[in-house]
Every structure is written in C-alpha cells, then in structure tokens.
C-alpha cells in the first residue's frame, strides 16, 4: 500500500485488511471499531490534544522492507539500530528481538531453543491468520468501547507481536521489541498480545524512539496480556519518543489464580503521553506490581497512571510511581485501586512521589481508591519534593557542575525503580537523564 493517501476512512480500513490477507472476523472487527471510534468523544480529562489532527495523519507507512539480518537494512536505519545497541543486545542479553519501523515489522529473531520448547514469538498479522487462540482474546482484554483511541487502534492496527508461552515453560532471558517511527506525520498502531499458559513465565521489553519532526505524529499501541494460573509476566517499556509524538496507549492484563503481572514503565519522551497500565486480578491470590518512572521536560505533558482491579480473594497490588518534572512541564499520576465485594483479603498499596526541578514545573496526583468490602488492607502515600537552590549550591560548592548535581539528585530519587529494570536498561536510562540535564543547563 502507498503511504500517500493512507488517510482514515472506511475504504482505507477495508484495503488494509485486504492487503494483510485477514480472515473475515478481523475485517469485521476493524469496521466495528471504526464505527465505535466515530461515535466516541475525545478523552474528557488530561492533556490538551487539540494540536493532534487525526485527519492529517498517515495511517500506514512501510518505508523499509523486512530483512533477515541487520546488514541488509538501509545504511541509515542500520546505524540508528546500532547506536541503540539492538544487534549487540540481541547477541548478549535477549532471547528474541523484533523491530518495527512505522507500520510493519522489519526484523525478528528467536533463540532456537525457545522455538524448540514451543514458544511462539511472531508478527501479529501472521498470528491472526494462523493461531485460532488469537480470535478468542484479541481486544477482549481491552474492548474498543473502552475509549476513542482503543477503538481507533482496533480499526487501523498494524504490526506488533503475538507471544504464546506453553504451560510450564519459563523464558528466563527477556524478549524485546523495538518500535521506531520514521515517516513524518505517521501513526503507529502495533498490537501486542501475550498468552502465558499456566505456570509459564516471561519478561518482555519494549523500547521506542523517533526522529524529531515539526508535525505531530501518533503512537497508539495496545498491549493485552493473559496470565493464566500461576503464570508470571513482566512487561517493561522504556519510551523516548521525540517531542512531536502523541503517545496514547492502552495496556491491560488479566491475571488468573496465583498469576503475577508486573508493569515497569519509563516515560522520558513524547509531547503528550497518556498511559495507564491496568491489571485485572481475576483469580484467587493473583498479584500485580506497577512501577512507573516519568521524566517530564520543557513543553511535555506526561499523564500516566496505574490501575489495579481486584475481583478475587487474597489478591494484591502495589503501584509505585516516581515523577521528575523540569522546566514548564506537567506530570500527572492517576492511580486507581478498585476492590470488588468478592475480593476479600485483598491488599493494595499505592505510593507516588514527585520531584520538581523548577518553579514552573506542575504536578498532580489523582488517587482513586474504592473498596467494596471491609476485608482489605489499603495503603496510600503521596509526596512532592523540590530540589532547593541550597541543595544545588551545596553540591556545586564541592566541585560538581549543575548537570552533575541534578542528575545525582534525580538518580537517587528514581533508584527504587531503576533497581527493577535490567541493568543495561537502567544504565541507558541514567545516560538519557544525564544527557537531558546537560542540554537543559546549556
């Protein structure tokens, strides 16, 4: 399909489905989502989205053909991926890796031993054609009625990954996906569906970046996770989108009895982010942890949060957020804990701290806690701190420049979350932080 003319319309959606060779159910699903999208209003809370013109986006672009090895990629993209350390990480630290540019995957690999154990790690398109399980779960965890961008995603999704981990198989080293938006004014809508069978385990990592353009682009991915009895899934995202990207995502998990789903999110880029990873605790003893780190810099609005919905006895959740705000930027954290009447013996804890680096920085914490049974243990803390001129001067008077002093303070502040991230990524996060302080001070 030509990216020119890939504007949002019924005809476009039909053509997209036809070119992907999809079964009829998916084509119908897309059209149903489009109808819902047209009916639903824009989000009525949070950041200003008026500069995002949905009619002006390119809904499909495929600037690069898929390749079998990194060497076959076009020179410039190869250098980008190299600078991001992807080929090296693939060799050293990953069980599998997928890379997507705009609408389509360009590269994918999986260790042979995992393939031998029956692990499936494949493109969403192929999964829709070949795996009947997909139909059972696709947009069941997040239905299109949930919000306008979920519906839009359902209509125009392209790319992404399907992962199936067979019963009892533990994938000990992480699988990774990398998303790159290359074309100006593009929309990227990858769909990730993870089915973890009973007793299996998986750590999945997403990274994201884009070159900077003056025109707005949209990233609206969707992640659905189904963790069956006793399964463990950890989903880590580190996004460093450029400042013209609207990053409006939907991520949700179902956790059955004894299962555990952990979300780790690092948001360092984008112009606007709306991201509220959610776990629905459906079975007795299911648990979730949600760790979020945001770094809002000049001109950005990072609207993030976490939700835990307790629907079974003895379930537990822990939501931890650390936000740093610099310059004229806004960081909002929306934490929701809902304990249904049947969730007796549930435990939920929410803790949110913000560090303001400038007088103009804005922050808000919006906790919503609803417990429909008395047999719960709930905890909630929120703090806001400010880096004082006295602290900065003190560190400078010992020979650290302002950028060093700020990144030392911020590193300390976020260390409870960095500890949870694989060390290579924690290192990368630290490096990104330092770079942004050097820029801000200069």
């Amino acid at each position: 399909m030509r990216p020119q003319g890939a504007r949002l319309s019924r005809e476009f959606v039909e053509r997209l489905s036809w070119e992907k060779g999809e079964p009829a159910w998916m084509r119908e699903h897309r059209l149903r989502c489009l109808a819902i999208f047209e009916k639903l209003p824009m989000p009525r809370f949070g950041p200003d989205l008026s500069a995002l013109d949905l009619a002006d986006l390119t809904y499909y672009a495929r600037p690069v053909e898929p390749v079998r090895s990194w060497e076959e990629l076009p020179e410039e993209l190869r250098r980008t991926f190299q600078a991001l350390g992807l080929p090296e990480a693939e060799q050293r630290a990953l069980a599998g890796l997928g890379a997507q540019v705009d609408s389509e995957e360009v590269y994918r690999s999986l260790l042979a031993e995992l393939r031998a154990k029956g692990v499936v790690f494949t493109s969403m398109e192929r999964a829709v054609r070949e795996f009947p399980e997909v139909r059972e779960y696709f947009m069941r965890v997040i239905p299109p009625e949930d919000n306008k961008f979920a519906a839009l995603h359902g209509a125009v999704w392209s790319g992404g990954t399907f992962i199936w981990v067979p019963e009892g198989v533990e994938v000990e080293i992480p699988l990774q996906a990398y998303y790159r938006m290359q074309t100006e004014g593009v929309g990227q809508f990858e769909h990730t569906l993870i089915l973890a069978e009973p007793g299996s385990s998986l750590h999945y990592i997403e990274g994201c970046s884009a070159p900077r353009y003056s025109r707005a682009s949209l990233h609206s991915g969707m992640v659905e996770i189904v963790a069956k009895e006793g399964a463990r899934v950890r989903f880590t995202t580190i996004q460093n989108w450029s400042r013209n990207v609207y990053n409006l995502n939907n991520k949700r998990a179902w956790a059955y009895a004894g299962a555990r789903v952990d979300w780790v999110s690092g948001s360092l880029g984008s112009r606007v982010t709306m991201l509220y990873p959610t776990t629905v605790l459906l079975g007795k003893g299911a648990a979730t942890e949600n760790l979020s780190f945001t770094f809002a810099q000049e001109g950005m609005w990072l609207d993030t949060g976490a939700r835990a919905i307790h629907r079974a006895p003895d379930t537990s959740s822990r939501l931890v957020a650390r936000s740093v705000v610099q310059g004229r930027a806004t960081s909002v954290f929306r934490g929701t804990i809902h304990v249904a009447p049947e969730a007796r013996g549930a435990k939920a804890h929410m803790e949110c701290s913000t560090l303001l680096l400038s007088p103009e920085a804005r922050t808000e914490t919006i906790p919503v806690v609803r417990a429909e049974t008395d047999e719960v243990e709930l905890g909630h803390e929120a703090t806001v701190g400010r880096v004082s001129q006295e602290q900065l001067f003190y560190l400078r008077s010992r020979g650290l420049d302002e950028a060093q002093a700020l990144s030392l303070i911020v590193n300390g502040f976020v260390s409870p979350i960095l500890k949870e991230i694989p060390w290579e990524y924690a290192l990368e996060l630290r490096r990104l932080l330092e770079m942004s302080f050097e820029k801000a001070v200069a």
């Binding site: 602290q391 003190y394 590193n411 300390g412």
Partner: protein, 240 residues
Amino acid sequence: MAALVVRDLAVRVGDKLVLQDVDLELAPARIHALMGPNGSGKSTLALALAGHPAYAVVRGQALLEGQDLLPLPPEARARAGLLVAFQNPPEVEGVKLREFLRLACAERGQGFCEFQKAFPLALARLRLQDFRDRELNVGFSGGEKKRAELLQLYLLRPKVALLDEPDSGVDVDALKLIAEVIREMAEAGTAVLLITHNPRLLTYLPPAQVFVLLDGRIAECGGPELACKIGEEGFEVVRR
C-alpha cells in the same frame, strides 16, 4: 606566597551591605581564625567566597594562588581548591554519601582506585563507618553533620579550607577528634580558616593569626593571644 588573598571585599545580601573593607591573607599549612559575634558576617564571607548566588560581591578581589576566583562559578572555585565546610549543611535526599564523594573526588582529579582506598580510611578517621551508604546529611545529628563536612574536606584535600563553626553542637570527645583532623589537614599543606565564636576549639588548635569581624568589618587582627583575650572578656575587648 599566600594561598588566599582577599582584598577590599564588600558583599551585599538582598539590599543589605553585610561585609565591607574585608582584607585577609591565608598562608598554606597554617591555621587562622575568624572570630566575631553572631550576625557579624562570618558565614557571609565563607559563602560569598564559595560563590553562593545570594551573596553578591559588590567590590574587591579574591585570589587563590594568584587566580581570581570571583568570575568563576561555584564548581570551578571548588575545583581550583577552595572548599567550605558549611555551618548548616543541607540534607540531600536520595544522594548517597559515597556516590557523591566519588564524583567530587574525580572532579578534584583523584582516580577511582585512590578513592576506593582513601574513602574507608577517612570514614574510620572521622568515626563515620556506618555512614557509608547513608543519604547525604539526611537525619544526621548536628555533630554528625559537622564530622561529615570535615570528612568531605579531608578527602578532597583543598588548598584553602573555610570551616564555618565546625565545633558548634559537637560534644567534647568529637571536638578533640575534629581538632586532630583539622591539624592533620593543615600539616598536609591546607590553608585553614577556622570560623568560630567559641574560643574553646582554639585552645586545641592555636591559630597563627586571628581576625575579628564586627558588623561586617575586620575590626582587629592579631596573634593567638587575641583569641585568649576574647575568650576571657568577650568581644567587648575589641569594641573598646
């Protein structure tokens, strides 16, 4: 040559001229004292020399081994070799003492191996063994803060150390320890300015020279006997 020369210094805080006509010279490997009642401007002098943005130098000069400090930002003054032990060091949440000092030592040109060796020794010297992984000054008692300030300077080995009331809030045993460490620093070549309004520390560390600050001006300057006299009769001696 003097390690630090201050000439005709005048400092403004807000609208108020806090220091005027301040002249002093500090010699390497010597202990000097700056005495004066509360509010006379002692801390202002230390903070202005360190480059605190709220303390505006309106006139004068400050030369560190001949290099003009006043145009430099605070970190460059520290790297050049001038350090202040704060009267009231702030607490810095999240920053580990060790991490911070490792960076600061690197900026003073000390290698990592050198730091690895020196750090535990310095902790032991100041009886701060349990503070290795503590956050900088967070929850330290008054006396612990003073020892931690000295620990930093001890490791960073400045050419000029301005110690702002290292003795206040410190018990007798710790006072002796602090005096020994300061003496050791001076013997290693540091030019020390002890800022205090309490003559007791000076009985442990007889200063080569005593400056007395009254209402923002150096009112008198003398040998160790001046400190004794102030100890006996108070600052009235100088006022008269």
